[in-house]
Symmetry: C2
Subunit: 128 residues, 2 copies
DNA sequence: TCTTATCACTTGCTAATTGCAAGTGACATA
DNA sequence: TATGTCACTTGCAATTAGCAAGTGATAAGA
């Protein structure tokens, strides 16, 4: 995980944020995790159809950036699940605003689900 | 500008939003416009150093998506400036949240400027 | 008038990233 | 032993990114 502003193309926080999550897929994975998904297969089954190699790559990047954590949830066979860190959970307000925006301006798009809009970052950490 | 949810990869508003602005540069241009910049050269001079061909491409996409409008501001020589539409101005809350998030989690990043955080979408439309 | 400059792009080209499809390894179950 | 599942990985073609240089319209200066 990058630790100094120097590693980024500028000192602007927005710019740094976009270097971490500025693509078409990363925030979709975070969205899924906000909705309680945690397994590789869960993410793969989302309606947008993320390609498997992209998913694996994004999970790695999100972990490197400290947004998610990979944890074993069984040993036989060894399986891992992905959970939001505090940093990742705190992206929720961003996603909520972005979801509202898109719903307002994309005719025909679904409204963000009530439970998604009602959630708070701290809800996403332990018991969900 | 896409007008039906069908044109997007899913009906999720977040997903549609990311198809429009999910890259490393688009929101940086919107940020600059929120700060009062409007000319091609202004965007080019931002510290992140966007390549010229990418800038031209993103301005085109942002216009196609109805986020910005291209307007002539002089005729000799013909010159254009780029202004936020209501749709674009309403991205401000998203940028504010994302700026706060990054400032909180990227050590050494600047805090979002006070005037940026104090602004409201309606401030960005006419007189700025 | 001729030259130089500026602004807002565009073009060419290489490198990196994306995305589809198929394959792999560890283990469970029949 | 045979088949299946899950979580990836690999190969490869196609798209996109990014650097550097070029272009066209016009202004300003010699």
């Amino acid at each position: 995980m990058k630790s100094l502003a120097q590693n980024y193309r500028s000192q602007c926080p927005l710019s740094a944020a976009l270097e971490m999550i500025g693509d078409k897929w990363s925030l979709l994975i975070v969205r899924d995790m906000c909705m309680g998904k945690s397994k590789y297969g869960d993410f793969q089954n989302s309606p947008e159809g993320i390609p498997s190699n992209i998913l694996a790559n994004r999970l790695r990047q999100l972990e490197e950036n400290g947004i998610i954590k990979k944890q074993p949830y069984q040993t036989n066979p060894p399986r891992y699940e992905y959970l939001l860190s505090a940093k990742g959970a705190d992206l929720l307000p961003v996603l909520q605003q972005l979801g509202l925006w898109a719903h307002r301006y994309v005719p025909g798009s679904m409204p963000p689900p009530d439970d998604f809009m009602a959630a708070k970052p701290e809800d996403l950490l332990a018991g969900k």
